[in-house]
Symmetry: C2
């Protein structure tokens, strides 16, 4: 930790150097100093991540389950944040007040992008060396709310936009890429209900309750919050991030349907909350003139929400298809040996996925939502067309990026508790935030589960509902939304409350997850996760849960028909469209379109079918279509089980195993 | 390409929106606009890279060898740059002149970091809505040299520091990571001579010649260049980047010694040129008061060069060892099954490598040099300790990063020719730059080869010297150095000349490389590169070249002794230190230190040796030590041949194959 002491001495040394002879040299030294402070900040986080990795290693060895890597990252972040705050020297920023030159003509209502300062101008320079007058450019930074506060801190903080443009995209893409599994589609109804309806409901309930609480508080605080502010808080605190819980689930081999529900909901509610908060802000900015409620503006905000969400979804899905398409085009023109260059394949894959994010951002949509659905599509279609080398490569790349980004953001949450200058601790608001976020989660889960159980064939049992409620940890998305805007006191109080909720839920709730599982008597299949006998724990779990599969895994040939009989309607519909139309069209998977489309469309189908699809054997088929990859635990992927759709194809006579 | 037309209309629409009612909303819209322009810029480059990838694919299929991917990236960049320049609308930046407030007291010789503007203050706002006065912060941007030029362009350009902090590190690390091979160490003498002495010589010759040329030019130009300026130009144009040539080499299976010399030199001369240019700048800034020559200042600059280079090297090497060390520590404490978590291993590997870069930057050293030597060390030591999954993962990750970064920088060179606002076209300077850079390369290669041949057992033949001369393509490092500082007219002329030299050499020289090989009658072993018979082409090549190996690859058991007899002294010395001291100390490789250290150091040796080292069999030894991995062509790695050092160990009785 002596790096921080060195830091202080370097700073002092360099500030001393800054007062050297020529202005140019001093400016140069200053630029160097700033660059080094940036490097030092990055170095601090790099060291923290390294420390986290090493500790996780020890924890994995000792089978410590009460602290996940994200919890660890938060705790390390808090410790180092405290050290930076109290041990390192401060770096005072110099400033002066300026007035426009008398002759200035400027007719815009916005402040100019640039100021030009003639320095030292008429000011007296204390140095005895005469300093030449030069003109310097200053670029717009933002509004100064608190004019008295004259220190702008440079300590270990980043531009909040970094989270949205660099940290979140790989995390969200990876989540989408891992959604590729049949259990997700089988529970699609429940997942969509919890994520779409539940999140909106939760935001509304938290927003209303918080508004009520705020009104009961001291007048100074009450006046600074509008209903839209508290609603915004509701939207940003609603998305869940149950990383810790899911890590324990995959370790303990908890029921896959429960896993799919919690994971699927958490992935989708991030997207919903992001768009929802954007719609609330738009409402605030564009529609409301007096802060009151207007029905047309409200409908406009809802339109905004639906429009942005579905257009972003479309952009992401299109880019996913497009990237599959360009791969397919390359293959179709008989360049089948391009698979020899997995580097090009992976580069294309990464570039197209990032392009989805950027296109959405350029079109004023939500890049994160686009990248999520791009990930889902890539996993569902493109993945099957990649060479096995590229599959591994892209999977490992995104796994690594996700790991680093996730731990970075949790480290940053810890560090910023101490170093971010715009925290506002308000005990009443914090207490109210904790209580309402718990209530919001309850409102999301229990009533919706009740409604879902009316239509669901195997209902969601009560202990699963409790576990869903318990998995309402808050994480990266809430924090990123809270830190994005900290101009007003209300927003600063929200940031502080959100940070504390994230830290508390990740460390405490995450740590208690194993006990919660035991207390709720949710069956776990601890036995083993190896290639040979992984079917075993799942059979146990299924039989306890009365799962949708009637056929056990020991009779895989009948599995397909047995499953389709009881499958949720939504999943069945999707499965049919997907296996008969989308997959053959977009990938090399069988059956060819010529056999699935009605007779009158045969000519079209023939054009769209590759020779590869006609000629490939069943082994290729089995190998290339890995739609049932579970991807629950990246380190120990559970190997491909027999996919119902595949089994159907096989039984229908297209092949013979 | 209709994206650019859309771009223009979006801009117009949004600028119109900016003049809306409230200042807050207008500011918000402006921030959104800036964010979208950033996204659009990134999207342009993402699309360009995608296009490059797709075209390369086609080229690889058609075996097009006259245009490498970097050349393609440059050409696409030029086309798109021209379109952006002439088709898209401009985005005018608003600015006003300001004066300090009358009461300001400020006693530093540097301009302040921040300005505070009370807006609209006394200015008349043209809007009929009364705008409230607010205070805005403006942050320091830089000096305005040309006060008349009032447009600061936002078109598709990036902060030059991005190249040094984000783009170059992965490229350089990957280069260092690929240097891990015996042919590099066997030609170490020649490589170091060309890279260290040759680059300095080339910089001096180019600098002097350019100074002479500049004196003959019109007076306006002559006066703006000092000798230090032209010397700086010499330093930045000296490093070579023969990517295209090397790609063709590995395709055509050209002699590995020639490959190692060209590749090794290009990797090291990047580092040398970077430190050299830093030393010249330091000389300029700190030592010279009147621009004249001072012997003490000159010696100081040389001291700077040596000090910064060796300290950066030390930081990189230490971090390489350290990361190996922490892995070893984890293993040594009997956590041997931590290898089950390759994700953690790879994350640690990436973090430690990046930490090397950051530590060097924080210590005012050169991060790029540190990351280069970190890469070399990681490849040499840590690589052997990684699990095979992590090896693949890290290798593929850096391969992909390197590919994307490299193509991005070449695309940017193309685009910035048209969009970067600080180009200064001076035909005389450009012509002089082309001529002197060719002469500088000649001065580097021919005299030094002559001197080397006096001491070298198998001399460097004349056609190899011509090929070394021909491989003097300029690339990423020259461009990054040139674009870093463009304040004066002299520096802007240097940037333009450097960009043109890079584009010309990459496209033309790179395209002619195959013909040059044929013209110079350099033997190529086109036959095959497969696992089974890859020894064949190399034997042919070696017999033609009278290589350092007397023993052919068909007698690998004798290879070790035969080779050591004729090996270069430097390589032999290094090999002994490495295999007897460094490797056993830092990795699990055999022989254990207890057998290589003299008797009186046995107790120390016993402490430093792992049980794994005592107990491991020879198969493990052969498998884990892949020091002779050639890594010439990442897509078709040539498999491990027998390493001479290993053979020695085996024959000395430590094992038995």
């Amino acid at each position: 930790m002596n790096i921080f002491l060195n830091f202080a001495s370097i700073l002092l040394y360099l500030v001393a150097q800054c007062q050297g002879s020529g202005t140019d040299i001093a400016l140069d030294a200053k630029a160097t100093l700033l660059h080094r402070i940036d490097s030092l900040n990055l170095l601090i986080y790099t060291c923290l991540l390294t420390l986290t990795v090493l500790t996780i290693w020890v924890f994995k060895h000792r089978r410590v389950s009460w602290l996940h890597e994200t919890g660890l990252a938060v705790i390390y972040g808090l410790i180092v944040g405290a050290i930076i705050r109290y041990a390192a020297s401060t770096n005072q920023v110099t400033y002066i007040n300026v007035h426009p030159a008398p002759e200035t003509k400027y007719n815009l209502s916005v402040p100019p992008d640039m100021l030009r300062l003639h320095f030292p101008d008429k000011m007296m320079s204390s140095g005895d060396v005469p300093v030449p007058n030069k003109t310097y450019a200053y670029s717009f930074r933002g509004e100064i709310v608190n004019v008295e506060q004259n220190e702008i801190d440079l300590k270990a903080t980043f531009d909040p936009e970094i989270f949205f443009n660099i940290i979140l995209p790989p995390i969200i893409f990876h989540a989408g890429y891992c959604l590729k599994r049949k259990y997700f589609f089988r529970n699609l109804g429940a997942i969509l209900t919890f994520a779409m309806v539940g999140t909106a409901l939760s935001a509304l309930v938290i927003g209303s309750l918080m508004y009520g609480c705020v009104q009961l508080m001291p007048a100074s605080l009450a006046s600074s919050f509008t209903f839209l502010d508290t609603l915004y808080f509701g939207a940003l605190i609603s998305p869940t991030d149950p990383l810790t819980v899911l890590a324990i689930f995959s370790q303990l081999k908890v029921d896959v349907n429960l896993y799919a529900m919690i994971f699927g909901e958490s992935v989708l509610n991030d997207a919903v909350a992001l768009v929802l908060s954007g719609a609330i802000q738009n409402y605030e900015l564009r529609y409301s003139n007096d802060g009151g409620f207007e029905i047309t503006a409200f409908l406009g905000a809802i339109g905004d929400f639906i429009g942005i969400f579905s257009l972003s979804l479309l952009v992401g899905a299109l880019m996913g298809y497009k990237s599959n398409d360009s791969l397919t085009t390359v293959y179709m023109t008989k360049f089948t040996h391009v698979r020899e260059w997995p580097l090009l394949e992976s580069a294309l894959f990464v570039l197209m996925s990032y392009a989805a994010f950027l296109i959405a951002e350029v079109c004023e949509l939500t890049g994160v939502v686009a990248v999520l659905f791009c990930g889902i599509c890539q996993a569902h279609y493109t993945y099957n067309n990649l060479s096995s080398d590229s599959r591994n490569r892209t999977k490992q790349l995104f796994e690594l990026l996700n790991f680093l980004a996730e731990n970075f953001i949790f480290t940053y949450i810890g560090v910023s508790m101490f170093t971010f200058p715009k925290h506002h601790f308000d005990p009443w608001f914090i207490i109210a935030g904790f209580v309402t976020s718990v209530l919001g989660r309850a409102v999301n889960i229990y009533p919706l589960s009740f409604l879902l159980n009316l239509g669901r064939n195997p209902p969601i049992p009560m202990n699963f509902q409790h576990m869903l409620f318990f998995s309402g940890l808050r994480g990266a998305m809430s924090f990123a939304l809270a830190i994005r805007n900290t101009v007003s006191e209300a927003r600063q109080a929200m940031l502080t409350t959100t940070s504390l909720i994230v830290i508390a839920t990740v460390v405490l709730q995450g740590g208690a997850a194993t006990h919660a599982l035991a207390y709720l008597r949710i069956p776990t299949g601890e036995s083993s996760g190896n290639d040979e006998n992984d079917a075993l724990p799942y059979r146990d779990v299924r039989s306890l849960y009365q799962a949708t599969d009637s056929a056990g895994p020991d009779t895989p040939r009948d599995h397909g028909d047995g499953a389709t009989g009881q499958k949720a309607r939504l999943a069945r519909l999707w499965g049919a469209v997907d296996s008969k139309l989308l997959k053959p069209l977009l990938t090399h998977a069988r059956p060819p379109l010529t056999e699935t489309l009605p007779g009158f469309m045969r000519p079209l189908a023939r054009v769209l079918t590759t020779t590869h699809q006609y000629t490939q054997g069943d082994n290729t088929l089995r190998r290339t279509d890995s739609d049932s990859d579970l991807c629950i635990d990246e380190q120990h992927p559970i190997p491909t089980s027999i996919d119902p759709q595949l089994s159907i194809n096989v039984r229908n006579g297209y092949g013979h195993v």
